[in-house]
């Protein structure tokens, strides 16, 4: 297994916004209902990366939760990439805020991994992100191990695992490092707490109990399903390039034309049974040029490659605007450098249904160019108690298996997504709809508020109604004050107590739900959590 040195800036979402440690700002950046970045003040009140937004609100009612801005994060990552070129030109970037390097590519120059790690930290530390905000040494984590996945874990602990000791290092890890799926939250209750416990099980038992998801996690724990293992180079170098007579100031048209130009070679490779996992993107502006290598373990298609062109151009544009003004793009080149065999895609029984027709794909690409990356989603029904969690939203061009892609696990390892999708984006197939104990029965509320605006539920005397720990309502609901107005309550049903994941301190939730019938005939679902009332849904 190759030696890999991995670095990450875990709190990059917050750092790229220029949040400094002494600003006193109590705020967190969220994506997919999870905290992905936080300020120093938020950290001090117990909020952590990976925590659900609901748990974060539970820690502080006053916390500002801001939506992630992936484009801005990528733009501001550009200076970090520039700084790292002084260490090595062979860095591979998986996303904004993290990257890795094969030790073999620089081993002879640096001599020891400690020296390389030190050089990486020194290069990143002090980089000016925005308005004088610099990255400090404590913001960076860096580590080395055998294999990509183990290296990401070692980096999280700032550890260099000696060659050959990676198996023991991995064995001691809890199973939660493998991702954040439901199956992984179930394993500790079954006594399977560490990776060693998981690997001591028979594969047939895992397959019988957990199916393909279990097998994928077992292989990840073994370190098998990580960096593409079989590199298969085509008989000639595949490069796609484009240059413009006049500099183009807007990035969108360049990206849009790149999609069309990259499509043919990528499709040709797919026809030959190969998929691209690494590509070097060179972008040329009227003043300078920049080359970076990008990796996507689940395999690139024309859209994801063009997206890398965009990321790079956005970064350059940001730098040039600040330094000497932006004149525009004069060209780009994409060199496809690593390939793995494509596992193809499984069509439905009759072939066509389930695959997005080309016309729709084009329309969505255009709409997404207007609204921004990952702005269009496809809904997938999932089971849940809360009405705001009964549908999961996937970016329309992401593989089906990546329902909740986490930082800890390469997308390729998640379920069978890659096998089902590459080459023909396939719409998710809704799961069967089994009964969900404690869920909302039909009819379901037709308007559900994901942001849950705060409301007040008062009794006739104007006092706030509260709910006891045993689920008893103190007071009779008389008036509801909401952002949409004040309404008199005609009758109510409930409350029902909802208690979820009581065994997990981080993700446990306990709240009460009440159904209100108002005097105008409409029906509202409200929830009470820590003495505060929120509007959850309206029957419409």
């Amino acid at each position: 297994m190759p030696r890999v040195v991995h670095f990450a800036i875990p709190n990059w979402s917050a750092i790229s916004r220029g949040w400094t440690s002494d600003s006193g700002l109590e705020a967190a950046v969220v994506a997919d209902r999870k905290v992905v970045g936080l300020s120093r003040s938020a950290f001090e009140i117990g909020i952590r990366i990976g925590m659900s937004t609901r748990s974060a609100r539970g820690r502080s009612h006053a916390i500002a939760l801001l939506e992630r801005d992936p484009i801005q994060e990528l733009r501001r990552f550009f200076p970090v990439q520039q700084a790292l070129t002084s260490v090595s030109p062979y860095f591979r970037y998986v996303s904004a805020g993290s990257g890795y390097l094969h030790w073999s590519s620089v081993g002879r120059y640096f001599g020891s991994e400690e020296k390389l790690v030190r050089a990486i930290r020194e290069a990143i530390t002090g980089t000016d992100v925005v308005d004088g905000v610099e990255i400090s040494d404590s913001d960076v984590v860096c580590g080395a191990a055998d294999g990509y996945f183990a290296a990401t874990l070692a980096a999280g602990m700032n550890l260099i695992v000696p060659p050959g000791a990676t198996r023991e290092f991995m064995d001691a890890m809890p199973v939660s490092v493998l991702g954040d799926s439901e199956m992984l939250s179930l394993l500790p209750q079954l006594g399977i707490k560490s990776i060693a416990n998981l690997l001591s099980m028979r594969v047939s038992d895992i397959s019988t109990r957990f199916g393909s998801e279990g097998i994928a996690l077992y292989r990840l724990a073994l370190g098998e399903e990580e960096v593409p293992d079989l590199l298969q180079l085509p008989d000639r170098k595949v490069s796609i390039e484009s240059s413009f007579e006049q500099p183009i100031r807007e990035v969108e048209p360049v990206v849009f034309s790149a999609i069309a130009e990259i499509r043919a070679p990528v499709t040709e490779l797919l026809d030959r049974g190969m998929v691209v996992t690494s590509a070097e993107v060179t972008t040329i502006t009227s003043k300078t040029s920049s080359s970076r290598s990008w990796t996507l373990f689940s395999g690139f298609d024309e859209r994801s490659l063009a997206e890398r062109v965009r990321w790079q151009l956005e970064g350059m544009m940001n730098c040039e605007v600040e330094e000497s003004g932006w004149d525009g793009v004069v060209g780009w080149r994409v060199d496809l450098i690593e390939f793995v065999p494509s596992h193809g895609s499984q069509l439905d029984l009759l072939g066509i249904p389930g695959v997005i027709p080309e016309g729709m794909t084009r329309a969505m690409a255009r709409a997404e160019a207007i609204l921004g990356p990952e702005s269009l989603v496809v809904p997938v029904a999932v089971g849940a108690r809360s009405p705001d969690q009964t549908v999961d939203f996937l970016p329309w061009q992401r593989p089906v298996g990546e329902v909740s892609a986490g930082r800890k696990m390469p997308a390729r390892s998640r379920g069978s997504g890659r096998r089902r999708l590459i080459g023909s984006r396939k719409l998710p197939v809704d799961a069967q709809d089994p009964p969900w104990p404690g869920g909302i029965a039909d009819p379901r509320p037709a308007a559900v508020y994901l942001d849950r605006p705060a409301v007040e539920l008062l009794d006739q005397a104007g006092s706030l109604i509260s709910l006891s720990g045993r689920g008893e309502l103190h007071g009779v609901p008389f008036q509801l004050n909401s952002p949409k107005g004040s309404f008199l309550v005609r009758s109510h049903l409930g409350p029902w107590l909802v208690e979820q994941r009581w065994w997990d301190d981080e993700r446990s939730q306990r709240y009460g739900r009440l159904l209100l019938l108002l005097h105008d005939g409409s029906a509202y679902l409200v929830v009470v959590n820590s003495g505060r009332w929120f509007l959850e849904a309206i029957y419409d």
Partner: protein, 226 residues
């Protein structure tokens, strides 16, 4: 002579052939598929593809339920449905009313978008999607252009015009020129039953329908929700 008749004959054959292979539009292709439940609400038997339909009503009156009823037919027929800028529309409820989610795409409800960007995105999506659903605020940014684009691409534009819950006035001077307009006035919900069998019910929706030619027609949708 015989040869010239042969040529003439071939010309005739080609004429017959071109007639036989000329594009044929079935009546069903002109209209949007409508489910049996939604058909009860409509005074006309179909909604013409490419038309602009406005659904108005107060929040909580049943506008979303009517929208779901209208989406059941197109989604079951495999048509593409794009929903833009309506983050609180519950697809879980839509699915329970029969909407097939496999052909639905929507803007990420966890993010907020600029109205004019949403209008431009709706403009782009009419190219590939047969049904595009937008909020009235979005549609009014470029109402006439969006409607004419939808008509040209034969994509049906569904516009939601939701009023505040305690609003007493009805929408009158809408920027959007609708081919068909529904005004929903849902009767009161009632509470009762058990947790398992359903604790809330509403007998039926009351929908007033008007198109450009006809006077408003009031229909009671014989459709318990559900």
């Amino acid at each position: 002579m015989g040869e010239s008749r042969g040529v003439a004959g071939r010309v005739v054959d080609m004429g017959v052939l071109s007639y036989m292979v000329s594009p044929l539009t079935l009546a069903s292709d002109l209209g949007l598929p409508i489910s049996e439940e939604a058909r009860v609400v409509l005074p006309v038997s179909t909604i013409r593809r490419g038309s602009t339909v406005v659904i108005s009503g107060r929040i909580g009156s049943g506008t979303y339920s009517l929208l779901s009823m209208l989406l059941v037919g197109p989604s079951a027929a495999g048509l593409g449905v794009a929903i833009l800028g309506i983050p609180d529309y519950s697809l879980s409820a839509a699915r329970s009313l029969g909407v097939d989610l496999s052909g639905v795409v929507m803007t990420d409800p966890r993010r907020r978008f600029d109205r004019s960007a949403l209008a431009r995105a709706a403009f782009a999506l009419t190219d590939g999607y047969q049904v595009v659903v937008v909020d009235h605020d979005v549609a009014s940014v470029a109402a006439s252009r969006l409607s004419s684009r939808a008509r040209q691409k034969r994509s049906t534009l569904l516009v939601l015009d939701r009023l505040p819950p305690n609003s007493t006035s009805l929408p009158t001077n809408s920027m959007v020129k609708a081919d068909l307009r529904f005004l929903v006035e849902g009767p009161a919900w009632s509470l009762g039953g058990t947790l398992d069998s359903g604790i809330i019910s509403r007998p039926m929706l009351r929908v007033i329908t008007a198109d450009r030619q006809s006077f408003p027609v009031e229909m009671l949708a014989g459709y318990a929700v559900p």
